[in-house]
Each structure stands twice: as C-alpha cells, then as structure tokens.
C-alpha cells in the first residue's frame, strides 16, 4: 500500500535524454497505466521506479520515502516482466517461493502463501513443474504469483500480456482487473495497447518521446484528448484529424464545409478532430449537423460494425474514416454525404497540436 511520486524525473543514456522531466503522483491503490508508442520511455520510467535504472535527475518516492538511491530489493515492490523472467531451473513452487526464501521468511509461512497464491491463480496442479513445461498463459500466471506472494507495496507490470494470444490476453486482462479490485495495491502498468490502457487504467498517462502528453481518466483521455497525438493514439480506428482555416468567425474545412465559432482562436490554422463513430451516413433525429461530401474508397466489414474509408471531396485530398452499422448500404466508389454533430468535434491548435478549450462551434 503506497503512494508513488515522480518529481521532474529525467533519464539520459550518455548524451541522449530519453525521459524529459516527468511529474506524476500515483495515489495509494490506484491502477495507473503508462501508454505510448514503442520507444517513448515507458519501460525506462517503470524501471526507474523499480530501481533497475538510475535516475539522472529528479526524485522518485514510494510511500513518502525518497528511493533514488535505494536498491530494488529495499523498495518493496514487485515487477512482472514481459518475458516473465521465470527462473528456468526452479519449479513453479520454487519460483514463487524464491522472493520469500531469500528474505528469510519462515518455511511454513512460505508454504501457506505460495499455496494460497497458486489456488487464486489456478496453478495448484503445476507446482512441481519447471517453467518450460508450461504454456504461455500459465507462465504468465506464475510470474504474477511470484509478485503476489510477497504482498509488496506496489506492483509494476511491463507489457505482461503482449506475448499471449488475443483470446488469452482478453481473459488475463479481466483477471488483472479483478485482482486489483481485490488486492487494492498500487498498480503501475506499462502497455502500448490502447485497449488495455482504456480498460484497465483508473488513470492513464500518455507518453510521447519521453514527454508526458496527458494524464487523466480513460473518459478524459477519450473525450477530451489534450493533443492531436493523444486523439490519434487512443481509439480505434483513430480519430480523423482534418485541417481547417479560420476566416473571421468561420472555420472552413474539407473544401467548402464550414463551422461558426464563438470565441478567440490562437491562429489562422486549426485542426478539427472527429471520431469515426461520430460520423454517420444520415441524420438521426434533430441536431446541429455538419456535413461533408466524400467518395467511398474501401469498406472493411468487421462483423459488429463496418469501417468505411473515404476520400474527402473538395480538393483537400484528406482521408476520413467512419464507423457505421453493418446494415448500412454503401458501395465502393459511391459518393456519400457524411454527417456529424458539431458538439462531437474537437479543436486543436495547428501549430502546437494542443487542444483548444472554451470555443463553441456550430454548423454554419
């Protein structure tokens, strides 16, 4: 049970700085997800918390104690690695008992705790096996069990599900969430998978090239993305980002379509973001609808819904993706009119790529 706090944390490898000043407080018991594309520094941050990497500057504290100079073993955290890092020469039981044994826990106590964890994780019948005789999912569970038995202050996970097949991944995701609900320890979870981030995280930190793009609840990240990067990274298919130019109190985009805005915009160029699921092929009921014309380029039926790739008319050469009900009749190479409500769109500054707040827009 512990709060984890990062203050101005930076990391350099030689002259190259890869983490550029991260500030973050993870309250006790929170499930925080670090998400971002490959190479953005997620693992580095997690490893700094674990004590496997030194902190170049800034401070990390766990449970109000600064841990910058503390050995990993003295931080009282547990970590689950992407490749599970099970000790190949030890049985499942020995793997789970290892951390307790080297800490000098009493044998009977070890026995109870390992067996309890094994029951929780459904590993009871595999305790005598060596890791190589287990399936990927079972190895994953052993890795979790190894963390579990120690009952540490915090659990750190580095892409623990990425080596599993899709079905098992979904199942383990649910189990992880239940585990957290039961244990109520602090969880820090690294992933590049935005579905995992959205479903698991109580809060999500989105990273890009060693910078924090946004920290917020899944709802905030999804509905009020702080930048075009976050908007494009979270949600599948990605949010459509269109270029718009400001002309007095009007914004023109996609050729001649327009919006009317009330409020002051920072520059002459803006980006307009609209999620594929907010676009439709017809108006549904009353509402403040904008409309654009587009030519259907490709149709991807996914079963539950259909993703339609279109090319906007009007010479702007932009692509737009919409997600519609599979019954929707639409054919490739047809020209369609796409509708979306003005209050579902997001405005971003074209120069800084940051979100513009407090500007009302309506169809015009």
């Amino acid at each position: 049970m512990a709060e984890i706090k990062l203050e101005e944390v930076r990391k350099s490898y030689g002259p190259a700085e890869v983490v550029h000043g991260v500030d973050l407080t993870i309250p006790d018991g929170e499930f925080l997800v670090l998400v971002g594309p490959s190479g953005c520094g997620k693992s580095t941050i997690l490893r700094m918390i674990a004590g496997l990497e030194t902190v170049t500057s800034g401070r990390i504290s766990i449970d109000r104690r600064i841990v910058n100079r503390l050995e990993p073993k003295d931080r009282d955290i547990a970590m689950v690695f992407q490749n599970y890092a099970l000790y190949p020469h030890m049985s499942v039981y020995q793997n789970m008992a290892y951390g307790l044994k080297v800490r000098g826990v009493h044998k009977a106590d070890i026995h109870n705790r390992v067996n309890e964890a094994a029951v929780t994780l459904g590993l009871g019948e595999y305790l005598d096996r060596k890791p190589r005789a287990l399936s990927g999912g079972q190895r994953q569970r052993v890795a979790m069990g190894r963390a579990l038995v120690r009952n540490p202050k915090a659990f750190l996970f580095d892409e623990p599900l990425s080596n599993l097949d899709a079905k098992l991944r979904n199942q383990m995701r649910v189990e992880l969430k239940q585990l957290h609900a039961r244990l109520k320890n602090t969880f820090v979870y690294v992933t590049h998978d935005q579905v995992e981030a959205m479903t698991l995280g109580q809060r999500i930190m989105v990273l890009r090239d060693g910078n924090v793009e946004q920290v917020g609840t899944p709802d905030e990240i999804y509905n009020q993305p702080a930048s075009t990067f976050v908007a494009g990274f979270i949600g599948a298919p990605s949010m459509n980002i269109l270029s718009g130019s400001v002309d007095g109190d009007a914004i023109r985009f996609a050729g001649k379509a327009g919006l009317v805005h009330a409020g002051s915009l920072p520059g002459r160029e803006v980006k307009i973001g609209v999620r594929p699921e907010h676009l439709c092929l017809r108006k549904e009921g009353e509402g403040d609808y904008c409309q654009v014309r587009a030519k259907v380029a490709l149709i991807e039926p996914l079963g539950g819904d259909t993703v339609v790739h279109c090319r906007l008319n009007g010479g702007s050469d932009e692509n737009i993706i919409i997600r519609v009900h599979p019954d929707e009749k639409v054919g490739e190479n047809e020209t369609a009119i796409l509708y979306f409500k003005a209050d579902t769109l997001h405005l971003f500054d074209a120069e800084t790529q940051r979100r513009i707040n407090g500007v009302q827009v309506c169809a015009g």
Binding site: L52, K73, M79, F81, A85, Y87, H89, R103, R132
Partner: protein
C-alpha cells in the same frame, strides 16, 4: 497430423557422401588408429631398446606398471597437478568472466586481452615461464630471491609443482573465460533483475541463479580441462621442469614420453599410453552422456 521434417540431405549417388568424408577418415586412420593400434600391440610385447627382437608377454607390461611405485607416484602427481590446475584456471576464469560480463561495454577490449594467452603454444608458454622463473636468470626469480624467498624450482619440488600448475592454468584461463562469458551472456538480464527485485543481493544471485544456470558450461569445461591437464600439458612440463625434481612434476603423459624415448622402455611406455587412451575414452563417453541430457532445466 504433424508433418515430420526431414533435415537430411539426399544424395543421388550413394558413394558421394563417403567420398566427402574420405579425407577426414584417412587423417584419422593414419594419425590416430594406426598409432593407437601400434601402441596397443606394443603394450603386450617386450622389445629390446634397439627394436631388433620382441617377445609376446601377455599383460606383463600392465602388471609391471601397476606395481611400479614410480608409476603410482606419477598417478598421484598427475592428480595433484590436474586438480590444482583445473581448480585454479576454472575459478580465475569464472571470476574474470563475471567481471567482464558486468562491464559489457568495455568487454571488447577486455575480451581480446584475456584471449591472448590462448594464442601462445604450450611449449612457448613453458619457455616463457621458464625465462621468468629460471633460478639463474629469470626476472621473477631474481625479484623473489631479492624479497627473501629462496626460489629454486630445480631443487624444491613444491615450487616446481607450483610453477607448472600456474603456467598450465594460465594457458587454459582464456579458453575457459570465453565459455564462461558466453554462458553468462546467455542468461537473460531480466532473470537477474527479477531476482534483485525479489530481494537477492549479488552473492545470492550468483549462488542461486547464475551458478546453477551456468552448470552445463561448467561441466563441459571440467571435462575439457581434465583432458587438458592430463594430456596437453606435456609441452609445459617438458620445457619447464622435465618432470623433476625427483619426479615431483612427472605426470603420466610426461612419463610416457620419458620412459619411451629417454628410458627406451617401449613396452612399458605403450602400456601407459593404452591406460591414458582408456581414460580419455571414458571422459569422452561421460561428456557425451551428459550433453545428451544437458537441457536439464
């Protein structure tokens, strides 16, 4: 149903594969089987030093061997010499490999540095140590004498043994080092990181993770080093001590040479070779047996 993959190459001409291995077979026949069969034959004959007459004596050469106190003394010397050499070279090379593994960044320089001694031929190594430690002119011997140590390995059997052990171990360290380093590098870093988080300090990590995972390498090296200490250290002993003083460094392999070519006891020497051959065979079988099951964990 799984399709079995056949990795064998099929030759259309069935004599072609034999042709390919023929040169190798010729080399083995001429340089191994022929001398070996000669040794076996000679070991049951009694031959006069000039090779003019020989007499079939059954296993007399062997009985003579195992009742000869010099031979039993030589067995003891060999055991002491081999154990000391193997212990020294394995422990030093493991230590160096662990250091090298830790400073992987600088390892390239370090690696070539340690491989150096391996490029030196055994007699050369012997001569090198001879130059350094020769009581009448060696640099190190001079320094030792200066420091008040009475250094003369021609007279002191303990010193003679120490010298050949260190020289022989030194020669083997680079080889062992390479294998240990490769073994260490094959251990995923995440295992050690995981152990560190689990609460194990460096010594515990070495004892509970690194050493067990290194055991196949260690066993392999053990066999190789036994063979080395038994058979390949001839050059060093020949150059440095000639088996002396008073047989203190007269190992089995040196004794074969000494009895055969200096003492001209061809039958006895051949019997000794046959004993050594049997030892090598057993060691090799042991190694193959182990390698078959080496994916232990």
């Amino acid at each position: 149903m799984a399709v079995m993959q056949d990795k064998r190459v099929h030759f259309r001409n069935k004599w072609l594969p034999y042709l390919f291995i023929a040169p190798q077979m010729v080399v083995i026949l001429v340089f191994f089987f022929w001398p070996a069969s000669q040794a076996i034959k000679q070991s049951v004959y009694l031959e006069d030093p000039f090779g003019l007459s020989s007499q079939f004596v059954w296993l007399d050469n062997f009985t003579a061997l195992f009742t000869d106190p010099h031979y039993l003394e030589s067995v003891k010397v060999t055991l002491v010499f081999s154990l000391a050499t193997i212990g020294l070279s394995l422990s030093v090379s493991l230590l160096l490999a662990v250091f090298a593994d830790q400073v992987i960044k600088g390892a390239n320089f370090y690696k070539t540095f340690i491989i150096w001694p391996y490029a030196v031929a055994p007699p050369l190594a012997g001569v090198l140590w001879l130059f350094l430690f020769h009581p009448a002119g060696g640099v190190v011997a001079y320094l030792l004498n200066h420091a008040g140590i009475d250094w003369d390995y021609f007279a002191n059997s303990g010193q003679a043994m120490l010298l050949v052990v260190v020289a022989a171990a030194w020669k083997q360290i680079s080889y062992n080092f390479l294998f240990f380093l490769a073994g260490l590098q094959a251990i995923p870093t995440s295992l050690l990181e995981s152990a560190a988080i689990d609460g194990a300090g460096p010594v515990t990590r070495f004892r509970t993770i690194i050493f067990p995972l290194l055991s196949p390498t260690t066993f392999f090296l053990l066999v190789v080093n036994v063979i080395y200490a038994f058979f390949e250290t001839f050059g060093i002993i020949h150059a440095a001590t000639q088996g002396g003083p008073g047989g203190a460094t007269n190992t089995l392999i040196f004794k074969v040479f000494n009895d055969g070519f200096i003492g001209l006891d061809l039958g006895g020497s051949a019997a000794q070779s046959v004993v050594l051959m049997i030892i090598v065979m057993m060691l090799t079988i042991l190694q193959f047996k182990f390698i078959e099951r080496r994916v232990q964990y």
